[in-house]
Symmetry: C2
Subunit: 336 residues, 2 copies
């Protein structure tokens, strides 16, 4: 094993991982039908930060995989590619379902190429994720493929609940948290677990890192929900109040409805109707007055703490462990 | 091994397989999120004949798997369930892409429940197919999951080409055949190969049955393309001329354009424009005058013969082998 590399700041860690994962994702996508390449190239050109792929490589190194520049890329890379493929497939399909026209300040795939092209492009990435892992079906890779497929199914269940909740009243805070644990947490939990699985780490290590990822997902989603209402468009790439306009039952909304007391009917009525700028502003003010922003932030803090506590339950290599903490701070916006 | 059961007529064989595969598919789908169950129940209630699942079970028995009522269901069932899940996922997504409002005389999932619900329902079936096989990751099941994922990717490539060809001129007969081999043939080839793979049959048997399925797919698709232009709505569940209205570059269309000589521009112009009943009738007449119906039928005959020849290259159990031939006759409409 090469000596641990000193940990860097999260943007540097993510950049280091992206230099490995990005080209590997491009190579995998290059195997697909030429008819799919234009929409996929468009989508991938607006690439995100690659948090999930980085988690796989850093967690593999933290679990003792041979390191190159602090990353367990020799065993982790197929897992990193596979989670990034699943994540991007879910973004392409979710953008159709949510009727989102822009992602990262660029037209979404369906907005640019049509719904059919976006459905089939997502379908291709989903199958490719399994192909990448089963190309060389060693027991750890098969275990990784099974874990990723289960996480994908959880993510799908979360998205299905999210869609159903848009037109359903009386979502409890617990239902909302379960939906978000599935929609966002499951794939982050899988990302953190996949490195140890591929490195052949003990079950306790796999489980501790899965818990880290699950809580990190909950913390991230709570922060993202706050940004979905109060975030700056330049930062989020979406319009302010976007989640309210779309009748999303995000965590601050559900918390506010649960805490609104005798103003509940007024808030629910406002949220159910057509929301122009004036209604969005009024609803946002009521949500704040219910203390929902503060409570959502407290939930994010709780899950952030639980994520770090999970890391203490595993015997991890120091440098990559510090990188996991740096990534956790970064995705929950604690470092700005 | 129990003694071979005498072969039946295809409808009886399909019915026997469906009694085993149908409940197993329902049980697998029952694991999914409740939010997905209504659209999936709607889709599955209009179930097809279950040809792909039946092929898995019959081919498993033909390759020597222990038989129950002529079916190798003990080892084949997870494969049969998985191919049916993939097939139904593709139908649900293709109906969105093709803007088809009806399937089997009932509203399609997207027409009934919306595009978002149909996308997510299909996504769930796709992941479930892999889950069903990797639940118990024995080497044959892992090999089956890998083969099914590759076939799914081929099917996706074929659908992507099919969509791209709708707006592209000058598709050669060879391009059209390759597209159909991917779109339809790959999953039928996989269905026929999955039983032998799960039964641990020799590579030569797997390969012979894959070829059987691939040629059967080509023959079936050619016949289906003929029905898409000349079929009776009561039989196909679609409107007459449906493929022409949708600008589908199906085999008879591509053959006609290749054989139209100096009438090519006239036919292409007719097919590219808006096609009302009069234009559909005129285009159909021109396609017939080019000899395209007869040539497409000859291609179907060629592939049907090649499918049967592939069976001769494997050492198969007589009863189930006869059932494979019966199914081949049935899906290419030779038995009516």
């Amino acid at each position: 094993m090469t000596p641990p590399t000193p940990s860097g700041a999260a943007p540097e860690v993510l950049e280091r991982a992206a230099r490995v994962v990005g080209p590997a994702v491009q190579a995998a996508v290059g195997r697909l039908s030429p008819a799919l390449l234009e929409p996929l190239a468009h989508h991938l050109a607006g690439a995100g930060k690659g948090v999930r792929g980085a988690l796989v490589l850093v967690a593999a190194a933290a679990a003792g995989a041979e390191q190159t520049a602090g990353l367990g890329q020799a065993v982790g890379l197929p897992g990193a590619v596979a989670v990034e493929l699943v994540h991007n497939y879910s973004l392409i399909h979710d953008d159709i379902m949510d009727e989102d026209l822009e992602r990262r300040h660029r037209p979404t795939v369906w907005a640019q190429f049509g719904i059919g092209a976006a459905i089939i492009a997502g379908d291709a990435l989903a199958a490719l994720a399994t192909e990448v892992l089963l190309d060389d079906p060693t027991p750890p890779r098969v275990a990784a493929a099974a874990a990723l497929t289960r996480a994908t199914q959880e993510m799908i269940a979360g998205q299905a609940d999210d869609l159903a909740y848009e037109t359903r009243d009386a979502i409890s805070v617990e239902e909302c948290q379960l939906m978000e644990a599935r929609k966002t947490g499951a794939l982050l939990a899988c990302s953190a677990a996949l490195g140890p699985i591929l490195a052949g780490a003990p079950t306790a290590t796999v489980s501790a890192l899965a818990d880290f990822g699950q809580h990190l997902g909950a913390a991230f989603q709570a922060v993202d929900d706050i940004l979905g209402i109060w975030g700056l468009p330049a930062r989020t790439g979406k319009a302010v109040g976007n989640d309210l306009e779309q009748h999303k039952k995000s965590l601050p909304v559900v918390v506010a409805l649960a805490r609104a007391g005798d103003r509940r009917a007024a808030l629910a009525g406002l949220l159910d109707g057509e929301l122009g700028p004036a209604e969005v502003a009024a609803a946002t003010r009521m949500i704040e007055e219910c203390g929902a922003e503060a409570e959502t932030r407290a939930l994010a803090d709780h899950h952030f703490g639980a994520a770090l506590a999970a890391l203490d339950r595993a015997d991890l290599v120091a440098g990559p462990r510090a990188d996991l903490v740096a990534i956790a701070n970064f995705v929950t916006e604690r470092d700005r």
